[in-house]
């Protein structure tokens, strides 16, 4: 039987993460950013390839943390591939938390993913 602590959507993204990995450093329009929980807990990093018209051509993520962290990063990547920079910036942690049916205690995982994403969107060519 499935673990009752996790929703089907969370399990799906955790078991088959979308857009996992990284983009090479010479990717055109590369933007990177990360967010880390204080004390060395969850860590999420995004690589975005943003076209001149502001469209996200490619998105990749890496995540360390609980299943909710990995699933939220995967879901965010799935939602934003092919979308505009503006749409990406409008993504809220609550959207991810709702879609994955995260319990309140796990909402910080979604918030961290959104912070990592906004860090990547805040400027090109930064970060690792």
């Amino acid at each position: 039987m499935a673990d009752p602590a996790y929703s089907a959507a969370l399990l799906d993204h955790f078991q088959q993460p979308r857009h996992a990995g990284s983009l090479p450093g010479d990717t055109p329009g590369l933007c990177t950013g990360e967010a880390e929980q204080p004390g060395g807990g969850r860590l999420v990093r995004f690589w975005l390839s943003v076209a001149p018209d502001g469209r996200i051509d490619a998105i990749r993520f890496k995540a360390f943390g609980c299943p909710a962290t990995i699933a939220a990063a995967s879901l965010a990547s799935e939602r934003l591939a092919g979308r505009s920079r503006g749409e990406a910036a409008a993504l809220e942690a609550a959207d991810l938390a709702r879609a994955l049916a995260l319990p309140e205690a796990r909402e910080p995982a979604a918030a961290l993913v959104v912070r990592a994403l906004r860090s990547a969107l805040s400027g090109p060519g930064r970060g690792p």
């Binding site: 996790y6 860590l43 360390f64």
Partner: protein
Amino acid sequence: MAAERPIYLDHNATTPCDERVVEAMRPFWSEAFGNAASRTHAYGWRAGEAVEDARARVARGIAADPREIVFTSGATESNNLAIQGVLRAAGAGGHLVTCATEHNAVLDPCRALERSGVAVTRLAVDREGRLRPEALHKALRPDTRLVSLMHANNEIGTVHDLAELAAVARAAAVPFHTDAAQSVGKIPVDVGELGVDLLSLTGHKLYGPKGIGALYVRRGPPRLRLEPLLFGGGHERGLRSGTLPVPLCVGLGAAVELAVRERDAEARRQRELRERLWKRVSAALDGVWLNGHPEARLPGNLSLSFAGIEGEALVLALDDVAVSTGSACTSARQEVSHVLRALGLPEARAQGSLRFGLGRSTTAEQIDRAADRVVEQVRRLRALSPRGKRG
């Protein structure tokens, strides 16, 4: 999800009730249903006889006298009766010594006593979870009323040198309690050789039923004074009132007897399987560490840490292997169990822990499958992790 039942490698959490134990308990649910305290008819006599027979079996398993065995609902109650019982019988205040890696069933009663004015010393352990007898010696005070130190750790498997530690307390005439929930039936437990005054054990960790345990209370001299937690009927020589659950007592007796009889052969077998698991995993992966003492550990326990991944994620990824972790993300931060914390491990090592608890039903084939799944899922999660294999 896996269609078959997951491979059960969480025997430190609980064990299935052995079929032979279930069989021994069977008549005592409906057929021989008497109250062991009824002295006026055959129903009561039969139940009473069964309870005393079970008490003798439990006593034999730890080389005690049957009169030294008090049936309880499990190790939590036994620990509470021992710790609160001794401290409350001694009057207000006083001091007790325990250890940072104890189970919460010991730490929580200590905390409760602390709130009522008892001073508590929690001894630190070394990197492998062991205590130095000198540290215990130094912690003892003129008003120390009890030392409570576990025999074997439930999480990292480390076995304390209990005889050496108990001797320190005895030299100072301080009663010594041990939580032996993990050790009885796994490694030799002889209350005389260990030199303990109080010992907690439980049925469900040794293939007995849940809801039954016992506290060994050494008969004097000198007499050990214990204040009961429950009043009402004066059962168990006044130490634990309440109608005895006859089938569970019978089950505990049968389980202890079987576990002790089969202990040495089973320990050898599980130790070999544990080594097989460790070798297979550590040969395939970098950044994997053994937690706890390499030799002084429970035969069936393997606690590992994996760099670059988080424990809860690994547990979920291993959907066809039932294991546990001492690491979990909670709301604000990454939580690490108090046991791993007490070892002083680097953060990255404490975060990616996995506990394997092997048991009677564990086979070499299961170990190989579990090891391969662990290797596969650690690789998958590491590929996703921005932390890599940094330890």
